[in-house]
């Protein structure tokens, strides 16, 4: 091992001599930095820095040397660096000419102050409002494209639409079916538990029928599809955006809305109502099974009770919401995908954002439907 880096001061009356020795490397920089900071700097004197003892030097060592030289010169000393080994000269010159910048102080994060916090709330609110405005604008653009398509129906991409129906609809059946079935099981079990206290177990069937058909079936399907297909829309279109495929499309005279967005929108709007119907069925199946096991309500009496509890309208109240939810999921998914900038990072960010936004808007719309239905007394 070579000698550790040190700096020694000796005062011979006339000039102050600082003797630098050892290995001036980044590995010993912490210790050197501490010593140099503790060193008392003279004022207005002749200072000689003797570098003959420096065995090794790297750019961090050079930085420390030059920083000391600079600090000495600032106090009116006459500084001379002497006896540097010739092989270190290019490095010292390089650091002197290009590497002696003051570090830019990291700005204090503005939102850590009270005013900054309030300002940030305002900023975020504005961003949210402007995004809402943009999504509305996108909806308008999509509507205008649909109207154009009505005049030229041959431009509808039928194959692409059918492919999307398979991807978002048929392929989603196992997961939607399983989850709806399980929710039916859970609802029946919990409902039976509560209603049994009043001796009203049989009304579990009513609870199941109304809640699954009106709300749970459609909401569950929409949330699963938003997570499964809305995110896929953003990721697919976003990746195309990163690869400049969307730009290529535009230069070839193809409208990305027509080619990419409408097949996804139509595909989802046509299949989601069917998925909801299927989810309703699977949910009731799970509920019926659980009622049979826990409450010993046989399937025929379950159906009998169900017939009294619901009407055809109950089913439609749920299913009618599906195309609206589909439009929300498809449009937000595609909108966020088209918003991707040319970095892989933004694909991930916007995919997350698209799922959160679609689920948010689905639930807000569902609440709005509840109000409308209660006014209409459906």
């Amino acid at each position: 091992m070579a000698a550790p880096a040190t700096i020694l001061a000796s005062d011979d009356g006339g000039a102050l001599v600082l003797r630098a020795e050892g290995e001036w490397l980044v590995s010993s920089a912490a210790e050197l930095d501490r010593r140099l900071n503790q060193m008392e700097l003279p004022q207005g004197r002749q200072v000689t820095v003797d570098l003959s003892g420096v065995d090794r030097l790297d750019s961090t060592g050079a930085l420390l040397l030059l920083r000391t030289e600079h600090a000495l010169a600032e106090r009116g000393n006459h500084v001379a660096l002497e006896n540097l080994r010739p092989r270190f000269a290019p490095l010292l010159d390089q650091v002197r000419s290009r590497g002696l910048a003051e570090p830019v102080p990291h700005p204090f994060p503005a939102h850590h102050t009270l005013v900054g916090f309030v300002a940030r709330i305002g900023q975020v609110t504005l961003v949210l409002l402007s995004r809402l405005y943009d999504i509305l604008g996108f909806t308008g653009l999509v509507t205008a494209t649909i109207l154009k398509l009505i005049r030229h129906p041959r431009r509808l991409r039928l194959t692409a639409t059918l492919v999307q129906m398979e991807l978002v609809g048929v392929n989603a059946l196992p997961i939607v079916g399983l989850l709806s079935f399980l929710i039916g099981v859970v609802m029946a079990y919990q409902g039976a538990d509560q209603l049994r206290r009043f001796g009203a177990e049989i009304y579990t069937v009513n609870l199941l029928g109304v809640s699954i058909l009106r709300e749970l079936g459609v909401l569950l399907s929409a949330i699963i599809i938003a997570g499964r297909s809305g995110s896929a829309f953003t990721a697919q279109i976003g990746t195309m955006q990163v690869n400049e495929e969307i730009d290529a499309m535009r230069t070839l005279g193809l409208d990305p809305i027509e080619v990419l967005v409408l097949p996804r929108l139509f595909g989802l709007a046509l299949t989601l109502p069917l998925i909801v119907f299927y989810a309703d069925f699977m949910g009731l199946l799970g509920g019926a099974l659980m009622s049979w096991v826990v409450l010993e309500i046989s399937p025929p009496s379950f159906l009998e009770q169900l017939r009294g509890a619901i009407t055809e309208g109950t089913l439609w109240v749920g299913v009618v919401k599906a195309p609206f939810f589909a439009a929300i999921i498809a449009q937000i998914g595609c909108y966020e995908g088209l918003n991707v900038t040319r970095s892989a990072e933004s694909v991930g960010k916007l995919t997350t954002q698209s799922v959160v936004e679609s689920i948010f808007f689905v639930i807000v719309t569902d609440a709005a439907f509840s109000i409308v239905f209660s006014v209409l007394k459906v």
């Binding site: 920089a29 010159d93 002696l100 570090p103 990291h106």
Partner: protein, 264 residues
Amino acid sequence: MSETREDCVIRVRNLVNAFGTQVIHDGVDLDVRRGEVIGIVGGSGTGKSVMLRTVVGLNRPVSGSIEVLGHDVLRMTDEERHDLETHWGVLFQDGALFSSLTVAQNIEVPLKEDLGLPERLMAEIAACKIGMVGLPGDAADKFPAQLSGGMRKRAGLARALALDPDILFLDEPTAGLDPIAAAAFDQLIKDLRQSLGLTVFLVTHDLDSLFAICDRVAVLVDKKIRVGTLEEHLQDDHPWIHSYFHGPRGRAAVAAETAARPAG
């Protein structure tokens, strides 16, 4: 073997690399001497980057041996490996900066590892490296996404240089840069190599870089490697090497270099 072990910082023997049944390297030998700039060239798919990745241990070869600074890269303990990693710096194609960190924070990443440097000194070192690679000082607080391709490469270089490595691995450093930026980058490598005493392992496609900064060139052809000076390669009559160095671009680069030589 003409080199002794001491002047050899990288020593590759009988290296075989294959992906599935496709053999990329079939018995490659390569010596890189201390302080030289060696350029690795070859057609697309001849495994230039694979070579680099194998030497730094990101890709495990089928067989062969690799020594870097006297350590056997393929049979080393984790501690030896960790120690060796402080002696090399790698610049990946697009800089490979951590996107969630600013440029200064990127450069501080290797410094934070067990050196115990105070914050202030790390910031000074980062600012020093930023200056040395020719970035403006205000680049320190920018995120990689806010930089141009050339600036990202410089920032990546600054991070690779953070610990003052002995060996610098560069993967296509001038690809995607405009000719002025590429020439400036070549000059930067030249300067840094002179002042820092670096050994540079340069994978490139850029004939101008080869002529401007390389001492020797290793050409990957027929799953083997041919190492020599540019003059030797210019004499080589292997069809690929001949068309590479004597094609229109090769001739232009030779002409530019001969024109520049008396002046520089």
